[in-house]
Structure formats: C-alpha cells, structure tokens
Amino acid sequence: MSTGSKLAAVVLTAVLGTASAGAVQAAASQPSTGKLQWTVNGQSSEIRTLVLNGQQLVSLSDAAKALGAEVEIMPEGAGIRITLGEHSVLVKAGSKPLNEDGTAFGQVVQSWKQANYVDGASYVQALGGSYSLLDGSGISIQTLQLLEGAETAQWAGDGRLIVSVSDESGRTDYLVDATTGAYSQLLSSSGASDLVVSPDGGKVAFSETDGTLRTVDLSTLRMAKIGTDTSIKSNLQWSADGKSIYFLQGDKTNVIAAADVATGAVSKVLDDKVEYKGDLSVTAGGLSYSVVKAGTVTADASKAVDLDDVSIDDSQTNPQLFDLDLSKSDAKPVQVTKSDDGKLFIQRSAAGKVYYVQAGDEGSNSKLASATAAGQAVAFDKEDVQEAVQAGSYVGILTDRSVYVLNEESGSVSKLADAPEGASNLALSKDGSKAALIADGKLQVLSGGKWISLTK
C-alpha cells in the first residue's frame, strides 16, 4: 500500500541496519572481509566483500552506489527495492533476491556487521548490466546501453571517438564517450565518404555521393555545406590549421585540390596529369600521396578473339610515394620511394616523414618504414606489423600481437599493450596516450592497461 521512502544510494549504509533487521546471521563458517575493484561504465569503485563458505559476496550498499542505483525501503519489512533504469530487484537478508517477476536468483543475501552482502554477478545482471572479469584483477561492469557493433573508430578529441557501423542500407556514425560507452548518433548516410576529423577534434568533414562537401560541428551538430563543387572527391584531409580541406579529384584521382572551409572556393593544388593517386596525407608544410600504375597490356585487336593475343606487364604496379612541399608555391612533387614493395597505411608525419607499412610476403614480417627525399628506412620490424596510424608526433603500430607507439621526436618505441585477438582499425589519440581498436566486432578502448569493450 505504502510506496516506501526513496533514498539516495549514498546514504544506504545508514538505513540498511534497520532494513535488515531479522536477517540470518552468517555462521556456517568464519567469514572474511576484503575489497574488490569494480569498473562501472569506465569509473572505478572499491567494493567491500564478504567471503563465506568459499563464496565471495559484495556489499549491497557499495554496489548500489557504484551502479548509481536508486534504493527504496519497502514497507512492513518487505525488503529493499534496488532500481536501475527499467530494472529492479527486491533484496531481503536471509532470502535470495527476487527479480521483477518475483523469481529468486543468485545466492542468499547475507548480513554481516550491519551490512548486507549479495552475489555481485547475478545482482548486476538482474539490474540489466553486464558483468565480466578483468584478467582476474577486477570486475568490469557496463550498465549503459551500448552501441551494437563497430566497424571503424577514430578519436575526435581525447575523450570521445567516432565509431561507424555499416549495414545493407548504408553507414551510421556515432559519437561514443571513450570512458562510459555512452553514445549518440551523429550521421546516417548511404554513400557519404568516411568522416575525417579536424586537427582540433571539433569538426568532421565528408563528401556526399554527389560530391558535395560538408562539415559537421561536433559541439552543435550543425552541418555546413562547403561550396558548390560536385566533382568526385576522395581521400579528404584537413589542413593542419583546419582552414582547408584537401582531396583527390576525379574518378582517376589525377588532381589534388583544396576547398577553403570559409568560402567554399576550390583550387587546384597539383594537376600533373598523373592518374591514380591515393593515400593523400596533409600535415603542416606539406602533403604526401601514393601513385599506382596500372599494368601495361599488349593486345592486338585485329587478331581473332580466340587466339587470346594478350600479354600483361605488371612489374611496375606497386605504389610509389611522393611528397609535395606546400610552403613553396612552385614546388614540384618529389618521389620518396623507389622500392618495389606493397605500401599500406601511408601517412605523412608532422615532421615531414612519410610512414607506411611495408607489406611482407607470406612467411615474412611486414614492417613500418619511413621515407623522405633523403631515402627510405625501417622504423619498426620487431613483430609482424598489421597497421600504422599517425597521430600528432606519434605513430601507433598494431602488430599481430601488440600495440606500440613510436615517438617521432625521440625515436623511441614503447609498447602500450598486448593486442586482442583479431584486432584491427587502431586509433591513437593525438598525445599518443590513448588507444582504441576494433576486435571481435566491438570497439575496445585501452584503460589502465586493459582493453574495455565500449560496444557490444
């Protein structure tokens, strides 16, 4: 009849003594107390524990506080109702907790020295959260509704990521809080290019299917159309000062152009008739790109088709890398590689080096290499390099087993963490301290040396 009095979780300890009057005392064996680390939605809390008959239970009040749950003392000694979002449980010392349907679950609630203790895993799950062990040294709990799936991730500032998910109808981009996993939809599109984050992390740029260039302010979510040019655009890149957006123009990507974000005016940066440029990368003072040559085909159309008079020379089809000095108006592109190897994840650093993954053959490791006009060098070959990603003065390196960070200024390479099985899409924050990647179809963010899933 009565609805009881609602109390904030922070004052729960004080009232539990009353609520648990008549509780069964733990007496089967000598209990021991301790503490356990819970990480709830990325936030750490210390939880008191009670070990009884080999079973570890957690303090009801500590758990409720850590979860941010609401507590209600039920009338007439009916117990305590704990509510988190749409889920509730009824807890009474000496009995198993009841879920919303009145079904008992988990272990009997124990009372010990004026505090109640519950089975943590079943309690959290009954309240709609996920409960998982963190390499034996703590518990990870997620109570927020997480985004389902993740295909790519990139940092947009230090505390948030842009995560993309594709399905048959197109791609949806989300802003995801890098600590809690809370997310909001940013853009849903069919045919829009990948979002490219501005150097200050405040905006993203993309081109629509018809070639229209647009930006979105990540604070206000206001979208702006940049100019009226509708040529085919690919490889969008922000200039270091955020005032221009560079891109490769045309279906044969033979032109490098830039759009002024303020005016929308598009100007050609390089139009040297060289087709199939790719991997455009712009940093302060310069840009780099790759050029792929198509194979040379010799075919005599005057001969009968069934003679198959065709030959292909594809000996020069691996990409070569070029660098262009943007500080000089009359600068010409400089070829910085000549090696006949596969080159992937090509990006220009702030210091003007062009880093790339030098693809190995079957049975040999792929390496991180760098190139300048002065020559090529191996930057990292300790393990089989899968990906490399440029972030400020750092290069993130994903190998088949680890994540490393190369500090370009010092030249040192340090290991950030072991890589989860099947990891891909490494993203590194600009200060080189935060890493995220995709593994098992989920966004994983490195927190305290461990990978935490922020999508499900």
């Binding site: 941010g68 609401e70 509510t83 979002g85 927020l144 594709s166 197109g170 079957e362």
Partner: protein, 286 residues
C-alpha cells in the same frame, strides 16, 4: 504476479543515447590471406578495381593486386590464357553477345551496375531520340540532324573500337542488336571512354555513347524514347541502357580472389566507394 507495481523509468544522467543502433557488420581483422591477384580488362571498371584494391590490401596486407585495362574483351581473354585471375568485363562473357562468343568455363561475378548514355555535341540541336532514330543514325541510314528534329548539319558518328564493353552494351541495349556503320567520311572510332568524351565535346554535330559517369556539361546526354539517362531512371526500370560490370573468373573463385570479389560486393564498398565513383550498387537493382 509481480511483487510490485510498474516502475518509473529512470533516466541515467550519463546516457546520451539517441536512436537505435544499427546492426553491426564487423570489419575483418588483418587476415592470413596471401598471394597475388591479377585483374585485367574493362577500362570503365579500372578506377573501381584500383580503389577496391587499395582498401582490400589494408585488410589483407600480404595480398598483392595488380590491375590493368585494355578493353573488356581482354579480361576474359587473359583469364582463359591463364595470365589473369580476374577479367573485368562490361558484359557477361560466359554468354554469347554481339561480336563475341561465350568464354567456356568462366563464371561471371557481378560487381557493379554501369549506366550508359547516348551523347551528342551541343551543336546538334536535339535533346532526345527514339530507339528507331538511334538505330538509323548509328547504321548510317539517317545522316543529317534535321531528319531527327535537329539542325541542318551532317551527323558525325563516333564509335568505340571493337572489343569495347561499352560498344557491346550500347549495341545490345540502345540499338537492340542492330549493326553499326563502320566506315565513311563522317565516321570515327575511338579507343577509350576518355577519347569518346573529348571527341563529342570538340566535334561539331557528333553523336556517340559513353558511361554515364563521363557525361559532362559540355555535351548533351540524350533522352531515349523520352527517358533521361539518370541513375534514378536506371533504378526505377524506365531507362534500359545499362549493364552489370562483371569480374570473370575461371570457374568459381577461390582464396584471395574470392575474398577480393566478396569485398567489392560487400555493403561497405557498394554503398561507399562504389557510389562515389558514380556506379550503381548491385542491391539497387533488386
């Protein structure tokens, strides 16, 4: 029976949730695939092949891909000869088409939808033609624009060289199989889409045909039977002059070749890079 009444839903302050999350298509991590894939054939499909190659190799660092183009027919020819794994072709080369017998044992894997347009120099003075008028112009029966509603000027027919997939498709779909003229003072042949674009833009009173992606505002893309050549009209079924682009393989594809074809056919590539290159996704034609 529930032990309490309906609960008030609490809003978690930290939750920024807006809208439902879409189903996740996970990106594959770097794979164990290795080897080399050689692609040759259609020049229209070359930009698509190179873009897909760039993306696919990031997922499969130890797969090498080379791409080349010298006209659609050289694709299945190179596959039959054993010097290419994939023959990029603007028609299904496992079947007979005008001018070319089928390539036995080859499998046609659809990768894109390619619309084509009949195009005319701006000076011709027409905005559309009927199928019969197109047949008469390209067969040489009608030689002056005034006979089809244009100005009094000789028509210059620009044709693609034998072996072009665009030519095969235009003949099959726009001309419904009727023959081209192949010589004469007002007849030209060009070897590529780029050459066709230049020829129509710069040759007064000319007519030709081209992939829709190459159409510019310096030419007239002609309506056919009063239907404009647009992506929407291809998708809604009213415009018939289009074809699938195919990756021909010797039998069913396997290994890295199979994975590469599946990547091009994936929703991510079809809705992303393929659309930006002005092709139409396969799923649009359901």
């Amino acid at each position: 029976m529930k032990w309490y009444g309906k609960l008030t839903t609490l809003t978690l302050a930290a939750t920024l949730l807006l809208g439902a999350a879409g189903g996740g298509a996970a990106t594959a991590a770097a794979s164990k695939l290795s080897g080399k894939i050689v692609v040759n054939g259609s020049s229209a499909l070359l930009p698509l092949t190179l873009q897909a190659s760039n993306e696919f190799k990031k997922l499969n660092p130890k797969v090498r891909i080379s791409a080349s183009a010298a006209g659609s027919v050289t694709g299945p020819q190179a596959v039959r000869k054993g010097i290419a794994d994939i023959g990029a072709c603007d028609w299904d080369a496992s079947t007979d088409v005008p001018g070319f017998s089928k390539f036995d044992g080859q499998v046609a894997n659809k990768v894109a939808v390619i619309p084509f347009a009949a195009i005319a120099n701006k000076s011709a003075g027409v905005s559309g033609l009927t199928t019969k008028q197109l047949q008469d112009i390209f067969s040489g029966k009608v030689k002056n624009w005034k006979d089809v509603g244009g100005k009094d000027a000789d028509i210059v027919v620009v044709n693609r060289a034998f072996g072009s997939g665009t030519r095969v498709n235009f003949q099959m779909k726009a001309l419904q199989g009727t023959d081209f003229i192949t010589k004469g003072d007002n007849y030209k042949e060009v070897k590529s889409s780029g050459d066709m674009k230049t020829a129509i833009e710069t040759t007064p009173n000319s007519i030709g045909y081209i992939d829709l992606v190459y159409v510019t505002d310096k030419m007239t893309a002609l309506k056919i039977d009063n239907v404009a050549p647009t992506t929407d009209n291809v998708i809604n079924g009213s415009y018939k002059v289009w074809s699938y682009g195919y990756f021909m393989t010797k039998g069913q594809p396997t290994g890295a070749t199979k994975a590469f074809i599946e990547y091009i056919q994936s929703a991510k590539f079809q809705n992303g890079s393929l659309k930006k290159l002005k092709f139409i996704p396969l799923t649009a034609m359901k």
